[in-house]
């Protein structure tokens, strides 16, 4: 049984944040949920820099990343993570309001692990978040030798 690692939720909209957190809560996951409110904060957390300099070791089990974010947008966060040798194994799920094909194509080009359009219907939204949490936080095995995998 791997250690329980946190979920990083990157979301700028307070209402979406509340809904998503509620949904994750209902999944009754044991994972800690770390919230970043913009792209820059997410990058700081992931790279252990800025406000998150010297944070506790251990990478998140999954990053739920909104596409439209202040400062650094979701696609750029995705690009930086997937270009980084140490971080690229972290699963990233893009959460977005849009069905824009160009965003989808770009995300997959950059190596996104999943792309989810937030459904308007709450039950569907809830189900989507639940599925994501269960799959990426519980079921997905990180590759061996990844940082934070018993390295302390």
């Amino acid at each position: 049984m791997p250690e329980i690692r946190p979920i990083l939720l990157v979301e700028d909209s307070p209402r979406d944040l509340e809904l998503t957190l509620t949904a994750l809560e209902k999944c009754q996951l044991a994972n800690e949920i770390i919230v970043a409110r913009d792209g820059a904060e997410a990058v700081d957390y992931l790279f252990g820099s800025g406000v998150h300099a010297g944070r506790a070791d251990g990478d998140p089990s999954v990053v739920l990343l909104d596409l439209k974010l202040p400062k650094i947008d979701g696609l750029e966060v995705l690009e930086r993570v997937k270009k980084d040798e140490r971080l690229r194994h972290i699963p990233i799920v893009m959460l977005t309001s849009s069905r824009e094909e160009q965003d989808l194509v770009r995300s997959y080009e950059l190596g996104v692990n999943a792309f989810v359009v937030k459904p308007v219907e709450f039950n569907e939204f809830f189900k989507a978040i639940q599925d994501l949490g269960v799959f990426w936080a519980l079921l997905n095995e990180p590759p061996p030798g990844g940082r934070g995998h018993g390295s302390v």
Partner: protein, 732 residues
């Protein structure tokens, strides 16, 4: 241009300037310019120059008085020395030839010279009074006829390739009229033309003369043959004598017409009987003809200027028409006379990217297109002209009647677009002023009638040549067209960049809408749901309100999704692949029925032909049409929905028919508009975008859609898609 008669070929090689003989109506000596010794002499020299004349001897006594004048002339650079001798009974003419001096004498019959000058003055007045070149030529021909007494006097004009045409005539009717007859270039071969330029007046008094040989025939020192090119008495070629005999003429005279230094034509005189013309009369004729030449030159310059002005006016009108018409193409053909007059053509055709226009006499379109194919295969030329198309493009031979000559200008660099002017075969355009064949008795191997046939053969499949002025007019028109096309292209480019910019804005707008407009609806639905879960004690009214909030937000969210789908359709490319419509319809019906499980529907789905297009988009069409059919048959028990398809001419046709609530055909036009609904929302839900989306998809496939309905009876939606072979839109 190759002469058609082998006899005339021989003629063209004959050395006519060195016959070593003269005609018998005069005598000839060749003098050594250093000591005036006689080097050569015609055998009849004694008869004219006196008994002391002999080859190798000194200057005959008769000429002694003129020796000093001759010496002075020879030292000068004057070409000719002419003087009356023997008290005016003889005319002496001397010119240089090779190393020697040729001296010729002829007898001069007594005549009233005073009268001659008066008549010449009258002529100059008549010439200047003539209205046009044709009139001036007739005046000159009449005058030469009156002065010389020849039976027939012709004015003969060369075209650009030395073919001749009789353009004016005077005579007494003893010889047949040759007016308008045409002769091939070979009738007056090149070396003869060269002689005619240097020696303007020639006469043959009696075609049956016995030539008088010159002794010795060659220069005794150098051995060179004697060049008689400038000699008046030169014995003429046997071929020419035969030609004259066959024409029925015994005597002839010709005077070259030189216009601006160019050999423009001839005044040719003929007599049935032998006929001599003394030197002063011949000189007078030369004077008449050169006066005519000046008149022609002046008139030609005037006409040139006039025709340039006229062409300029035509060009201006064409330009105005091109810029004021719907397109320059339509503008050009709206002034067909000007279009043809620009190059004096009898027909014109324009072959552009997707247009074919023609005016006047042109070959059929298919043939014009084959000419265009030939033009385009010739490479990068912007203007192509020929007056003998068939010699370059043999396939055009059957088109000679309309397209023996063409001028073609390339209009577009991108597409094989050409403007082509046409001219018919020249033989069919020759005007006859009379019947020249009538009463012409001709025998022998060469004569004018054969010449006419030869000319006809020579110009077979040819049109009148295009003049430099006409070609330059064509070039000017091309520049104008290219200018207009370029300007149009610039305007289009400007409009299209504007469009691109506004498209970009729209894209950005819809991108932002898709992100930011959906979110609030999601929040409303989400929090309403959370509230309902949290408050277990809500009364039914409150629950109903919450329900209304959720449903409104959901339908607004759906509206946003539909609108986005609709706007995205304009931006995404339509794939063109084979689509199995049977599969699509089966899947769509399953998926629609998923949310209408309780409905009782009798489906009738026929076997559908394969379509050509984008499967995802076509699925959307089927989905919306089938969903509508299911929706609007809700009051029917059972509902009947029929899906059919068939293959038409280069298209496939599909339809969905239901027995639902139908619609009033009066509103059929509104059916496919965005946000147009014919039903009340509480009866049938919907955003009013579904059918607009369907039509947009069908449009993007170059197809079309129609609807037929009757209130309370049902409706049929039929859409048509073009097959891959079809160019252009398929119409239902």
């Amino acid at each position: 241009m190759k002469p058609s008669s082998s006899d005339l070929d021989v003629c063209a090689q004959e050395p006519i300037h060195i016959p070593a003989a003269i005609q018998p109506h005069g005598a000839l000596l060749v003098l050594d310019p250093t000591d005036f010794r006689v080097i050569q002499a015609s055998l009849n020299a004694v008869d004219f120059f006196g008994a002391d004349t002999r080859v190798g001897g000194p200057l005959p006594d008769m000429l002694a008085a003129k020796a000093d004048d001759l010496k002075a002339w020879h030292a000068s650079n004057v070409a000719l020395f002419q003087v009356p001798i023997s008290e005016g009974a003889l005319h002496l003419r001397a010119h240089r030839s090779g190393a020697g001096i040729i001296v010729e004498v002829e007898t001069v019959p007594p005549g009233p010279e005073q009268d001659l000058f008066l008549r010449l003055r009258g002529l100059v007045e008549a010439l200047s009074a003539a209205r046009d070149i044709g009139g001036a030529m007739t005046v000159a021909a009449d005058m030469v006829h009156a002065l010389t007494g020849f039976d027939r006097v012709l004015v003969y004009r060369f075209d650009g390739e030395w073919n001749g045409q009789v353009v004016a005539e005077a005579g007494n009717g003893r010889l047949p009229s040759y007016l308008d007859l045409r002769f091939p270039a070979s009738d007056i071969p090149a070396q003869a033309r060269a002689l005619y330029v240097s020696n303007r007046v020639r006469i043959i008094s009696d075609v049956n003369y016995d030539a008088v040989p010159i002794e010795p025939s060659h220069d005794p020192d150098s051995g060179a043959p004697l060049d008689l090119g400038f000699a008046q008495l030169r014995s003429i070629s046997p071929v020419h004598r035969e030609y004259m005999r066959n024409m029925g003429t015994s005597a002839s005279m010709s005077v070259s017409i030189m216009v601006d230094g160019r050999f423009w034509g001839l005044v040719a005189c003929h007599s049935a009987e032998p006929h001599s013309v003394p030197v002063p009369i011949r000189d007078a004729c030369d004077f008449i003809v050169q006066s005519l030449a000046m008149r022609i030159a002046a008139q030609t310059h005037g006409e040139d200027a006039q025709s340039r002005v006229a062409l300029g006016r035509i060009s201006a009108r064409l330009l105005a028409a091109m810029t004021s018409g719907q397109s320059w193409l339509d503008g050009l053909v709206s002034v067909p006379e000007d279009l043809l007059a620009q190059v004096d053509a009898s027909g014109a055709a324009i072959v552009a990217e997707d247009r074919y226009l023609c005016v006047g006499e042109t070959p059929p379109e298919a043939d014009v297109r084959s000419i265009v194919g030939w033009l385009s295969s010739r490479g990068e030329q912007d203007i192509v002209s020929t007056h003998a198309l068939a010699t370059q493009f043999p396939a055009a031979e059957p088109l000679a009647a309309t397209a023996s000559g063409i001028v073609a200008i390339r209009i577009s660099e991108l597409y094989p677009s050409w403007l082509i002017w046409f001219r018919p075969e020249v033989v069919s355009t020759v005007q006859w002023a009379g019947n020249p064949h009538k009463s012409v008795r001709e025998v022998g191997r060469i004569h004018p009638r054969h010449s006419f046939n030869a000319w006809r053969e020579q110009v077979h499949l040819q049109a009148l040549p295009w003049t430099e002025a006409q070609l330059s007019a064509a070039r000017d028109l091309r520049n104008a067209i290219v200018g207009i096309v370029l300007r149009n292209a610039e305007e289009l480019a400007h409009v299209s960049s504007e469009l691109q910019r506004s498209n970009k804005e729209l894209e950005a707008f819809s991108y932002s809408v898709s992100h930011d407009l959906r979110a609030p609806f999601r929040h409303i639905v989400g929090f309403a749901q959370l509230l309902r879960e949290r408050e277990n004690s809500l009364d039914p009214k409150s629950m109903h309100y919450l329900q209304n909030i959720s449903e409104s937000a959901l339908s607004a969210g759906k509206l946003v999704d539909d609108l986005l789908a609709f706007s995205q359709l304009g931006r995404t490319a339509v794939a063109q692949k084979k689509v199995d419509m049977n599969k699509l319809v089966a899947e769509v019906v399953r998926s629609v029925m998923f949310s209408a499980e309780d409905r009782e529907i009798e489906w009738s789905i026929a076997d559908l032909p394969v379509a050509w297009g984008d499967a995802t988009l076509l699925r959307q069409v089927w989905f919306n049409l089938v969903e509508n059919a299911v929706k609007y048959t809700r009051p029917r028990h059972p509902a009947k929905i029929t899906v059919e398809g068939r293959t038409g001419d280069e298209m496939t046709i599909y339809s969905v028919t239901d027995n639902g609530v139908g619609f009033d055909m009066a509103y059929a036009g509104k059916l496919f508009g965005v946000f147009q609904r014919l039903q009340r929302a509480e009866d049938f839900e919907g955003t009013g975008i579904g059918l607009a989306l369907v039509r947009r998809i069908v449009d993007r496939h170059n197809g079309s859609i129609t609807a037929n309905g009757e209130v309370d009876k049902g409706s049929t939606f039929t859409f048509v898609l073009p097959t891959s072979e079809k160019k252009g839109r398929a119409l239902a």
